[in-house]
């Protein structure tokens, strides 16, 4: 089996991305601003999105000829780790990670040249409309149908749990039809498309249900050719890898919150961190965070190796999801009553952690994928 060959040592460029991101996010989207956005109608700040685009983030992994920064999955994971620390709201995961990856994996050169530059520039937002049921994460099955029409396609069905579907200008809709699974570029303003925003557990990351009632699109709306199942699975693996980095950042921040609090909060005349019941909890957080960091880093470093990614992505997905949910929960416990209040930030992380652990496949689903990859 392939071994990791790419160094864990950060390059100067990666260090620069990290320090720039940390400064920008702390100054421009501190948690007070995150709270405003999470209570707003669309959870989105268009000015901030434009600023992120100017920093090169929205096109981080898009090639330079198409207006992007031309970085790879390691740089992406560095940025996402920082966003995870700050529970940064907005459609970054939906558009700059998952939808971008789907277009890159499946689109023809012509389609990429048309679709990617406006995403890189922050002028448009795209999202993948894939899931239809609550426990059906495999992209190989869709009830949504694509039937051929004269010179085009007619799409019918309902897509659920569509990340930031209420913001997207470009919907990438999966539907089965002739040539198997296809991905279709659909405008939300097309006739027959209905977008219903959902109430969500994690209000820093929104979802919508997309209804497709005989939506007619042209032949050129289908990304690439042939059955897209394998490419979609690969795109989900890459999305899982990216999300894992975000989970590491969030878990790390929760651990830091707990440790800081345990050093300053006094009960029985002592800092509570001097009690082993709290100290050991914090030390176990460190164990989980370091473990999660290892698998997330590994996955980001093996994306070029298809066989190894098939192991590394679900490995990262299951370990990082479980770790973040656990650490975010323990963070509340370490804080006691204050940790359960709306005023305290701990719940922002818990909601992000729980929601993220299900978004692209539950930990058990990820372990099932892992088992298939290693023959168990």
């Amino acid at each position: 089996m392939a071994e990791n060959v790419v160094s864990y040592r950060p390059t100067e460029e990666q260090d620069l991305i990290r320090s720039t991101a940390r400064r920008f996010l702390e100054e421009r989207i501190p948690l007070e601003r995150v709270r405003e956005l999470m209570m707003s109608d669309d959870g989105f700040d268009r000015i901030l999105w434009k600023e992120m685009a100017d920093l090169g983030w929205t096109g981080l992994t898009i090639e330079e000829e198409l207006g992007g920064a031309g970085f790879g999955p390691i740089e992406l994971s560095v940025l996402l780790e920082e966003m995870g620390r700050m529970v940064t709201p907005g459609p970054f995961l939906a558009s700059a990670v998952i939808a971008t990856t789907v277009i890159q994996q499946i689109g023809t050169a012509e389609q990429q040249a048309e679709l990617l530059p406006p995403l890189a520039a922050g002028e448009r937002i795209a999202t993948l409309a894939l899931f239809e049921g609550p426990r059906q994460w495999d992209p190989g099955i869709a009830v949504t149908s694509a039937s051929t029409d004269s010179g085009g396609w007619v799409l019918s069905g309902e897509k659920r749990f569509v990340l930031d579907g209420h913001l997207a200008d470009t919907l990438l809709v999966t539907a089965s039809g002739r040539e198997g699974m296809g991905v279709f570029v659909v405008s939300p303003s097309a006739r027959g498309v209905g977008v219903t925003p959902e109430n969500v557990l994690d209000p820093t990351r929104r979802q919508a249900t997309i209804g497709l009632d005989d939506v007619v699109v042209g032949d050129e709306a289908r990304l690439g050719a042939g059955d897209a199942t394998a490419a979609l699975r690969r795109a989900l693996s890459l999305g899982t890898t990216a999300l894992a980095a975000e989970q590491v950042g969030g878990a790390q921040r929760c651990m830091e919150m707990s440790v800081d609090y345990a050093k300053t909060r006094h009960q029985f005349g002592r800092p509570i961190g001097s009690f082993q019941a709290i100290k050991h909890r914090c030390a176990n957080m460190l164990m989980k965070v370091e473990s999660a960091r290892s698998v997330a880093n590994h996955a980001a470093r093996v994306t070029e190796d298809e066989d190894e990614l098939a192991i590394a992505a679900p490995l990262a997905g299951s370990i990082c999801s479980d770790a973040y949910v656990w650490v975010a929960g323990e963070n509340i416990q370490v804080h006691g009553g204050i940790g359960f209040t709306w005023e305290h930030d701990a719940h922002l992380y818990l909601k992000r952690a729980k929601s993220s652990s299900l978004l692209l496949g539950s930990p058990a689903h990820q372990r099932d994928l892992l088992g298939r990859a290693i023959g168990i």
């Binding site: 990791n4 160094s7 100290k279 030390a283 164990m287 473990s291 099932d368 892992l370 088992g371 290693i374």
Partner: protein, 394 residues
Amino acid sequence: MIDGNGARVDELVDRLLDDHPPGESENIELWGAQYDRGLAWVWHPDGFGGLGLERRYQGRIDRRLEAAGASTENRRINLLGIAMGAGVLDAHATDEQKRRWLRPMFTTEEIWCQLFSEPGAGSDVAGLATRAVRDGDEWVVNGQKVWTTLAHLAKWGMVVTRTNPDVPKHEGLTYFIVDMESTGVEVRPLYQITGEAEFNEVFFNDVRVPDENRIDAVGAGWRVTLTTLMNERLAIGGSTVPRASGYIGQAVEVWEREGIDDPVLRDRLLQLWAEAEAARLTNIRANEMATAGIPGPEGSTGKLAWANLNKEITEFTVDALGLDGTLYPERYRLARPERFGLHEPQKAYLRTRANSIEGGTSEIMLNILGERVLGLPGEPRVDKERPWSEVLRG
């Protein structure tokens, strides 16, 4: 990438192999030559088994020796000497002491053991009670040590003793190298839950130790003890195992051999596989960061992670065996272990119960992570300022 020092050690290794071709020369002779040419502990000074280079070149030397078929078994045979004793001597011993002990240690002509734990001093090793009383140029040692690996084969023992009971516990300790063949040293096998005796109990009855065998100053024993434990951790953290090897490999093998088709057990196995792989990747990351000179918290988690994993994995494997898990691969008998390496699942299940106790309990490891890595405050200590003789023990 080969730098000047890399090229130099490569050349020295080549010449060592030319002069002592593996398979044609006795191991002891090869190891002696390796020591004499500074390739035993490359970071030691010239003349003491090293060349004064950075520690990281040792891996390169060992890999090249192994690739050429030369034995590095001495590192296993004399584990406690080569991994820990040498570090203690390098940091604290006089040149005369190093000259006397290092070479026969490396050649395995003299086996070493370490005597720290006592029946009344486990996690609180600084509370130990073995007494050493000065008598002219000698010290008279009395007390009992426990969980001593290799004591029955050892020539030399690293012993921490209490030389002053009237000061706080850390200040009254002195460290000696004791000849295990001295009159008054009694070694008894200590039978563990598998029935085997990997370890020993060691009794000291009026054992006379020359003052020239004292390491560092009288009262400096705790400092030397910490060096020993630090070297133990370096030795444990140094190796990286292949993916899905060890007990997780055994679990997968049982799963496949038995043709188990149970979704609950499958998810549990995959969870353990994932956690074992995460711990392995953490180990790789830690080694790389340590080699690069930027060690982080990842370097401190391995012992605790593997202790938990080994226990959980072997428990899973016995569960997966079903009723076969109630059978034992052999009849229990009280004896020294005959072989090393992986045990059968049932025996492994028993043996790994000690993984969260030996070499620092998991509770102590969590304290270390909490206090030294995360900077959390320590427990209030009732024994801190008081003379050892006034502290409740046992």
